[in-house]
């Protein structure tokens, strides 16, 4: 919620008309039906029923007055493509994507990392050292890790080839109840 509000405020303040985002179709089901050019109303709302057809690679970037566009240039990439490209191009990434022993607690089915002393521990919770890595990174009290031994790029790619779950299952923020998935957040202006 903070993220959505902060995003909308920043876009309004600077008057940006186009915002590139790194969302991908394979992350989550409401992102799967998203266009590459996603049109938003003046108040940043997303109406999945008022989007434009995208035939082959012909894009229509003309905006109506007050509209803004979110553009997703890597929409068609999969998580595996991302990792293979990072390996090929030597792109620097946060070390949290690689497995290492980290202090963690298990809470509501999520494995949370205790990053610094701001982490609010519940009564009776004792951080335990586990070998974990992150498939996705958000705010640390809300992002779950996965138990993993993959400490290098090629090991991560190997793990990716065998996985059967979506990376966003580790995000508390995506759970807005029932089947709504991220769609509700997107309508409110998230990307």
């Amino acid at each position: 919620m903070w993220k959505t509000e902060g995003l909308k405020q920043a876009l309004d303040l600077q008057g940006f008309d186009v915002a590139f985002g790194g969302a991908r179709r394979d992350e989550e089901k409401s992102r799967a039906k998203e266009r590459i050019f996603s049109f938003r109303t003046a108040s940043h709302g997303w109406d999945p029923k008022r989007q434009r057809p995208e035939l082959w690679n012909l894009y229509n970037a003309r905006k109506a007055k007050g509209e803004s566009i979110r553009v997703f240039p890597i929409s068609n990439w999969t998580e595996l493509d991302i990792w293979q490209y990072i390996a090929r191009e030597n792109i620097p990434i946060v070390p949290l994507y690689f497995a290492a022993p980290r202090p963690t607690v298990m809470r509501d089915g999520l494995l949370l990392m205790v990053d610094d002393d701001r982490f609010p521990l519940n009564e009776g919770e004792v951080p335990a050292l586990r070998s974990v890595r992150f498939r996705t990174l958000g705010c640390y009290p809300l992002t779950g890790a996965v138990e993993s031994e993959a400490a290098t790029l090629s090991e991560v790619i190997q793990e990716m080839l065998l996985t059967t779950t979506s990376e966003r299952q580790g995000r508390i923020i995506d759970k807005d109840g029932g089947d709504a998935s991220m769609e509700k957040k997107k309508q409110e202006g998230y990307f």
Partner: protein, 85 residues
Amino acid sequence: MIDTLTHLDRLEAESIHIMREVMADAVKPVMLYSVGKDSAVMLHLARKAFYPSPPPFPLLHVDTTWKFRAMYELRDRMAAESGME
């Protein structure tokens, strides 16, 4: 080994095409940068798309102040390296 995977070249070409297409019509564009792996790839593609100039837009990081410490370190390094705001 990974150099022979041509599907990555196709994806790269598509993303670069999209970015250049956007620039034709955009008045004031911005790139959302979350310091994650997808942002890292997107920024890398943007630098390729407009090379040798730096990408013609600033980066915007929506900082909730609750990000992992390692994320702040990489963010500051990448902004300096790419010559972007």
